[in-house]
Every structure is written in structure tokens, then in C-alpha cells.
Amino acid sequence: MEKSVYLDNNATTKVDKEVVESMMKYLKDDYGNPSSLYTLGQNARSAVEDSRKRVASILNCEPRDVFFTGSGTESDNIAVKGVARRYKNKGNHIITSAIEHHAVLKSVEHLAKEGFTYDIAKVGEDGIVDVDHLKSLIKPETILISVMYANNETGAIQPIEEIGKIAKEREIYFHTDAVQGAGKLTLDVKKLNVDMLSLSGHKFHAPKGIGILYKRTGINPIPLFHGGHHELSVRPSTENVPYIVAVAKALEIAYRDIDEHRAKQTMLKERLKAGITKNIGNILLNTPDNSVFNTLNISFVGIEGESILFSLDEFGIAVSTGSACTSGSLEASHVIMAMGRDHTTSHGSVRFSLSKYTTEEEIDYTIDKVKSVVEKIRKISPYK
């Protein structure tokens, strides 16, 4: 395979060279334990606290409200389970949405086994949460609402500010899984009206295995781990100093250059959309207008996504069908289904997700290959 066109940046991203460089010092030389009192340890401590400050300045919050975790999944789990378990005496009802990542959905389902009840807010055909429906689900015993910022499969941006306002009025804790918003949308927690927010480094050119949790001072989730005093006991474990430095650096870079990224990727996404729409019949757009600038999800009616994926892989093009995070199951994407699409359409959904490294030439190459691949597979299909 000569060519390599990576269009699966919602699954994971290439680590930025600048980011790799920033962390090497802490991987190789300043290897001290930040809890150690001697110089080598305190150098590591400074790196961690400096990183916390950098993240806080992007989230517009206090450094003490920023916590480093081991993944986006972990951040989601601390927020959802931790808050539900801590405040269960206030009420046992949780609201989430039909299009959440499994890290939130399965956490909520697990809480149901611990005596919590929950309701799921519907989304419209555009994949955007129906705020009126969500509002109607609120009960006196509702303690937590968790709605994602941008959907990983469709890119649809959710009305977080609005839901945040409602939650605040009713004194309900509000968490957003902002994993797919990082580097694409503002992460200003005050503007967003959120009490908690989760991020995952590997979605914005930091390595896999580092997450961020913002939680407002005064909210005290029961931790998932018990142990030492690290991260104010919210997340004990010796700090992963290199990755902490990396994730702060990556977040900084993402927002430093965001205007440029937005302009370029918006243009490329439109080019991809136009190219596919013009050249291939019988498709269905799963990405609404109000979406993050890097994501385009399209169903190729009558054919199945995995066969498209493997065919494009032959040409060095990486895309996903459904969520990469949910592969391993054979179910059609719960996100596309929630939008009211039928099974065949859901199975035929393909997600193209761009990054700052995507080029115009790659997009044109992709349009060409998608066209021939879809034609070929449609020939085999009973649905023409």
C-alpha cells in the first residue's frame, strides 16, 4: 500500500510532533515521581502543575478544578458514577441522551443495577437532542444530566449551553462528554454552563491513555480508585507526567491554531460532501449542518459499511463505520438508529473524519475511490 489517507480522526489522531517533543524530557530524563520531595520529584511536580494551569486557562477555570485521568472513558465514569453515587440521597434519577458514547450510556445502565433510574432524551432526525423532550423527563429526584457536546459518529453539536441553563435552574448536576469537541469548539466551562466536562487526549493529537476531567469546586464525586493523595484523591495513581505534559501541549496547540484548522477543514469537508453527492446516487447524509467542522457521515444505501471500509483500506484510505469504539459488537450504530434511520441505512453509514493533516489531494483521491468502491459493492448487493 503506497498511499495513506487517514480519515478516521474521530477514532484517534496522530500525535503531533511538537507534542511528542514536549514530553520526551519527562519520559527520558526528568523521571522523578511528582510526590517525591527531592529536586527530581519536584521538577516533575512543576511540570504537572504547569500543565494543569495551561489546561485551566483553555477551560476558563481554576487549576484546582482540572484533573488528569487515564482516558476519556475514565473521566466520563468518574463524572457519571461518582456524582450519582455521592448524591444519591438527593435523588436517584439520571437523564442522558440516546446518542451518548458507551462510556456514558453503559455507566448509566450500570447505575440502574445499583438502584438508580434513568431516562433517555430523544434526538431528532438531525441527531440533535430534543431539548423539550429532555425537559419533560426531569423529575424532582433527578440529580444528574449527562449530554455529550458533539457526537462522535455524526459530528452533530448538542445544545449544551441551553441544557446547562435548565440544569442550573433545577439544581441538577450537569456533565458533558466533550471528547469530540476538543480543538473544534469552545471549551469555556462558564460559557457552556457545565459542572463537569470530560476530554480525551488522543482525539486532539496527544497520546491514547490520558484524559482530563473538569469538575467545579464543590462537587465531590466518589472516586473510582482509592489510594494515595494524587489529584486530590479524585484520581489516585502516580501521575503519568509525560502524557500530562503532552495533553496540555496538545490542547494549547489545538486552540492556538483553531481558526486556521476550522477554515481549512470546513473547506475540505464541503469538498468531500459535494464530491460524493455529485458522483454517487442513493446516499443519505447523517451529519447535520450544525456539526463539528471535521466530521461527515454518509449512508450509502443498499450496501454495508464494513465492506466499504475494507475496500477503501485496499487503497490506503482509513474510515470507520459506526463507532470504532463500539466495534466488537455486531449491532448497527445506536446513534444512526436513534435518528430514525432503518437498519440497512445504519449498516451502510460511513464516517469520514478529518484533521489538520488532511490535504485537498487526499480528499479528491478519496472521492474517486469511494465512487468506484460503492459501485463495485452495489453490484453484489440485492438492493441496487
Binding site: E304, E306, S307, E314, L330, I380, S381, P382
Partner: protein
């Protein structure tokens, strides 16, 4: 994740397409599971002289369809009925556990097509009787 043979059959599937005037047709699977398969057979003197398929499904489903149709072409009805999904998977160099059902689907498709053929023959006989 897939064997070389699976990928070969997926890339260049054999016996693709709708058949004009088949002796029997088997339609199995359902789009809810992401797989649907139609098998067409032409039977002459109890021998499957031609076979083709149309499949909506994943790599394993398409490769299984291709391999299965290859395997029964030129076989007698009885031989074709004896074909197991295990044999199909083995010939494909194995399938991931989660994808074994695709080979089952192909086996079912063939059985269904043969059943359809037998029903048609029965009907023809009945018509002749009338």
C-alpha cells in the same frame, strides 16, 4: 483480522449476480443483523449446473457467499445439502468467531434454494397431474 483467502474472495467474488430463470432461489438473513443473502441455483438432472448470489453484508458475508457457491457448483443436490458452514469457514482459512454466522447464513442460503427448487418441482409435478 481476515485470512488472505477471505480477502481474495471479497476482492474478487465469484458467481455474483441475479440469475435469469433460476431453478430455485434462497433468501436468508435480514438487514437488522446487517446481512442479507440471495442464492440462485440452476439444476439439471439433479446437478447444480449454475449458481449465483447477491449479498448485502460484510466482508465475511460476501466471501462466504463466493466460497459456498464455488463449492456447490457441479455438485448433486445431495452433495450440496451435505455442505456444512464449518467446511465453508475452513476453506476460507477460518473466520473470526463473531463472523461465523456469515458462513451459517451461506449454508442456510443453499438449503433454502434447494428447498425452493424442490417445491417448484413438486408444483410442476402437481400441475402436470392436473
Amino acid at each position: 483480522m481476515y485470512s488472505q483467502t477471505v480477502m481474495d474472495h471479497f476482492r474478487n467474488p465469484h458467481n455474483v449476480g441475479k440469475m435469469e430463470n433460476p431453478s430455485g432461489v434462497g433468501k436468508v438473513g435480514n438487514p437488522q443483523c446487517g446481512d442479507e443473502m440471495i442464492i440462485y441455483i440452476k439444476v439439471e438432472n439433479n446437478v447444480i449446473t449454475d449458481v449465483s448470489f447477491e449479498t448485502f453484508g460484510c466482508v465475511a458475508a460476501i466471501a462466504s457467499s463466493s466460497m459456498t457457491t464455488d463449492l456447490i457448483k457441479g455438485k448433486t443436490i445431495e452433495e450440496a445439502l451435505a455442505l456444512s458452514n464449518k467446511e465453508v469457514a475452513d476453506k476460507l482459512g477460518g473466520l473470526p468467531p463473531l463472523k461465523m454466522h456469515c458462513s451459517v447464513l451461506a449454508e442456510d442460503g443453499i438449503k433454502m434454494a434447494i428447498e425452493d427448487y424442490r417445491k417448484r418441482e413438486e408444483e410442476k409435478k402437481n400441475e402436470q397431474k392436473i
